[in-house]
Symmetry: D5
């Protein structure tokens, strides 16, 4: 079951750089594990923004909530969640 999620990151300017870097590293690992597991199926950067467009393939709404709130950067993110389904013209 697919969802589009658009995330924007706002790391506070007073967060120590070392701490921020540690969180970003965790974020990268967390993200790549979910990608390898086929849950985070697409991940694109929006040009000029500290934002991404993502497609998630999850079991249900609760699964998506667990995945999103588990993001190491979650406390510094705003999110917009959109439920998707098969388009009648799609050939996939």
């Amino acid at each position: 079951m697919l969802f589009k999620v658009e995330m924007t990151v706002n790391i506070p300017k007073d967060l120590p750089v070392a701490e921020a870097d540690a969180i970003k590293l965790k974020e990268k690992n967390y993200s790549q594990e979910l990608q390898k597991a086929g849950i985070w199926v697409h991940l694109w950067r929006i040009v000029g923004q500290y934002s991404n467009v993502s497609i998630f393939d999850v079991k249900d709404n609760a699964h998506l909530h667990e995945v999103l709130t588990g993001l190491p950067l979650y406390p510094f993110m705003t999110m917009e969640v959109t439920a998707l389904c098969q388009h009648p013209s799609s050939i996939k």
Copy 2:
């Protein structure tokens, strides 16, 4: 080069059904040719809306404009275009 495009369709209520159906059929064919050509790489329906989320892989901005304005439903659509690029955490 990737772009996210979100399209919303508003077919006027006074357009004859036969005419609307003919345009929708052309739209489907046009869309599927672009999908087969690897230009319209993803196409999802937004749940509850006459809208879609699409990912296009085009040569340049002019190519995207040509593809979008060639849509048979283009006169009845509003569009939002977002330039995308590689995300540093993406494994693809």
Copy 3:
């Protein structure tokens, strides 16, 4: 799997009253069948508006899309869809 859907109805002023009444009757029947089936689990009127707040319990996103686009008043509605899940403080 739960979703909140807020629907607003805008019946065009030039739709003949008999036609509008026929659609509204179909809408009522459709809605009540879905309520009896445990799919449309809550349905409230927003005070002063031709709008409702609804809670749907569906199998997946595709199921919700099918239910919503099947509404007889769908061509005259705008919709806002929000994915819900269990709240940690809920006693249900």
Copy 4:
């Protein structure tokens, strides 16, 4: 008398964790007492957000105000209140 209330929580990042945890525990207890009393009749989490959708059944507007401003997390919340009533198609 029913109201939909949508609450979003913004705990300031400089609030000590122990203090935040103590407030959240009070919030949970407060919420569950109101649920058991039949006043806070529904409570759902919005997927991906630190927000909820709630339905309250109160005696009157003053009662709702007392309940909402009594929330331990109230100073860190924004709220949107919508008055509801019986929908003519509802079977309840």
Copy 5:
């Protein structure tokens, strides 16, 4: 129980003047009966707009919905409803 309601009127330009005048007259009578009954407790015009600010004193949400949807101009109005209660500094 008090509510603030802000109403804006948009009478379609193709409604015959005689019909519009008949509806406005009904509206005036309906409004004045509710004012005399102590239900529509305040009614002010917003300067420069075909809009009003109103205060209603009703038994409950359902009562307010019945009163508002009974307005002869209701099909041509947009409404914004806000629940009010006693202010701690009010001397009334």
Copy 6:
């Protein structure tokens, strides 16, 4: 001459409680004097918000500005001012 004013209070979280309480007490006294003088003619709390809906009866625009900027909580408020006049259907 009547104006509707909607005020929202945002007391900074780092303002010492004693200082905030002193300002709120001054605000209450200031407000009640204006109510007794027939200038602040209505004052309602918006349910669930630290906001009010107020009606002022002032000599002119300058008088209203003087009254509003004299509020002890003024530095912590946002305001929305709307000029009102007699409604043709009002019986007052």
Copy 7:
């Protein structure tokens, strides 16, 4: 007593040109009489828009409402009204 009013004109495309021209001529005369009377004290065109920025000097709110709703183009206008007063740094 001064007010800033911003007006935007939207003449429907199906209004006969002769009728529109007659209304515009009345509007011009009406406007110039109010300017000569010292009521419509400033009138500027916004570049690129069928809109104006105006300053009115009126006796009270009711006077402003009477002046604005008397505009021949009033049925085709949207308006934004802002109450003004003496600025402490103004030398006038």
Copy 8:
């Protein structure tokens, strides 16, 4: 050449009062010199706001930018700039 500029002032609460007062005094002097020079031709306070509506008569865009960014309060202001011209109904 005329421009309408609407300015809103937000002095940070942690700016020492003496410093703020010194800036405001400079602002007043700066403003009055421009008024005397016929450049800042109108200056009104918006009722209930720490905002003004101003009309500037400048040589060109660069001149306006120089005047606005020279304001002692400029770092604490947000601005909205609108180009104006002669209105065909104006008698001036």
Copy 9:
């Protein structure tokens, strides 16, 4: 003196095609004359939209208003006008 103007075209669906084509041809000629005269210095299409981004070099505000309202498509356009000036980092 430079201005950025963003124009969006909305040709009504009931305008006869021949009439629309005649207006578009006039628009093209009008636009190219202004480009050759060095007044319309840049003209770009926004990808996926019936909109453009334009830079005008005009004598003053009145000149810009004359140029814009003279556009054959002006009755079918919405416009956003922004005054520009020299950027201190520009090398031109």
Copy 10:
């Protein structure tokens, strides 16, 4: 391939002046190198704002992202990116 980018700068008030000045100097150099290289083809100041309107000519989306995120002031900027292409009426 052309893009319009609108950038707004918000330097935090607690950034030491010397540090801010050093970043601004780097920004100027960075900007001028890109201008000389024909990548940052236009750069205008928006009157009254700490904002600019820029036109970039880049190889592709990734190139634009690299250029924008390399800006020394990037952490203090918000950006709006719009893809452009040839306008059919442009004579260039």
